[in-house]
Point group: C2
Chain length 213, copies 2
């Protein structure tokens, strides 16, 4: 097989595996076996399951590289970076249509949609949660993703004004402060007792209260 043929064979096998077994239960090794190539061959093209999934499902971005770039400069300004990355992605019509299709698939709860949900949870939510290093990181990331999904829906699907027609820079200025606020470890979430947000660290000590008034 030529290089492109190998690549296509792996992507076909990956797509079939993700559809059949979902994201979590598919392995790089299993895909290699199904494609009839050595695991090293798959790794040569995609160095993580996230990247392979992004390629097989033709996602408009690869979180394995995109998320670290957003997180690396630190919490400072991350609200703006997350907002801008989301809006930049959705500003591209093809990416936007891909995402709307994903959400429609999600609504219908097919196996492929279930794979997509696992992927969003593992490759995007988990990755952010791990790297943030703030208390209740999972809850905070849930709120941030919800807000960004909602802003995207308001702008491009329901099209409510003024968000629908606002210049991207203005929308970033409007949206980012709330996200930055959720990223601030000195500002505890108002959450019920015992709701650890699915975090493994079920600490009983609360983060220190805000002191900035």
């Amino acid at each position: 097989m030529g290089t492109d043929d190998v690549r296509d064979a792996v992507l076909d096998a990956a797509r079939a595996a993700f559809h059949a077994r979902g994201y979590v239960r598919t392995s790089m090794k299993g895909v290699a076996a199904a494609a009839g190539v050595a695991p090293e061959v798959v790794n040569r093209y995609w160095n993580s399951k996230e990247s392979l999934f992004a390629a097989a499902m033709q996602l408009p971005f690869d979180p394995a590289s995109a998320m670290p770039q957003l997180v690396a400069p630190g919490l400072d300004g991350m609200g703006e970076r997350l907002t801008r990355a989301t809006l930049d992605l959705l500003a591209d019509e093809q990416s936007r249509n891909d995402f709307i299709a994903l959400f429609q698939a999600g609504a219908s709860a097919t196996k492929a949609a279930r794979g997509m949900q696992d992927f969003i949870e593992r490759a995007m939510v988990d990755r952010l949660v791990r790297t943030l290093g703030v208390p209740d990181a999972r809850l905070r990331v849930n709120l941030i993703m919800s807000y960004l999904i909602g802003i995207g829906t308001t702008r491009y699907v329901v099209r409510i004004e003024p968000i629908a027609s606002m210049p991207e820079d203005d929308l970033v200025k409007l949206v980012a402060p709330t996200i930055q606020n959720w990223l601030d470890p000195t500002k505890p979430l108002q959450k019920p007792k015992g709701a650890s947000g699915g975090s493994k660290q079920a600490k009983t000590t609360e983060p220190k209260p805000r002191t900035d008034g």
Copy 2:
């Protein structure tokens, strides 16, 4: 015609008119004429275009009655009331499926979807904006609706944990404070110069600050 026949004829005419001309350009009078009844007959069943639209489109709620109920008790606690009303509505599987269908129609930009967007903007957003009486009300309502849409999508469509499985009361406690914050007229939005939020009243004087604490 019997009472039910009259009602059905008006609803059929209304549905056809909303589909053909959209929400804004359809009138109660025009629907009455198309159904072959006097305008008073239409008014006997539905006292506003919002209510007629809600009935014709089989919406799970009528904003003409639901929105004033949410707003009437004042800004205090409105964050929680808005959050709870949204989650209550979406907790019902039929309502939820209706809403998902609306958003899918919105994504495809058909005439019916355009009517739905006009309706959401006029019957829900405009109504909240008018009654809130806070500066930048339209921008604030845009953010609130975006956030609630996003929370609903995270819980029921993308199904990210822990929001997907969290008891409703816990989710209300988590989500409502941010919404209450956006409703607080003493907390200005961080917005760019000149972004009046699409409001017709481009006043330079701000509405009087709240005095209820």
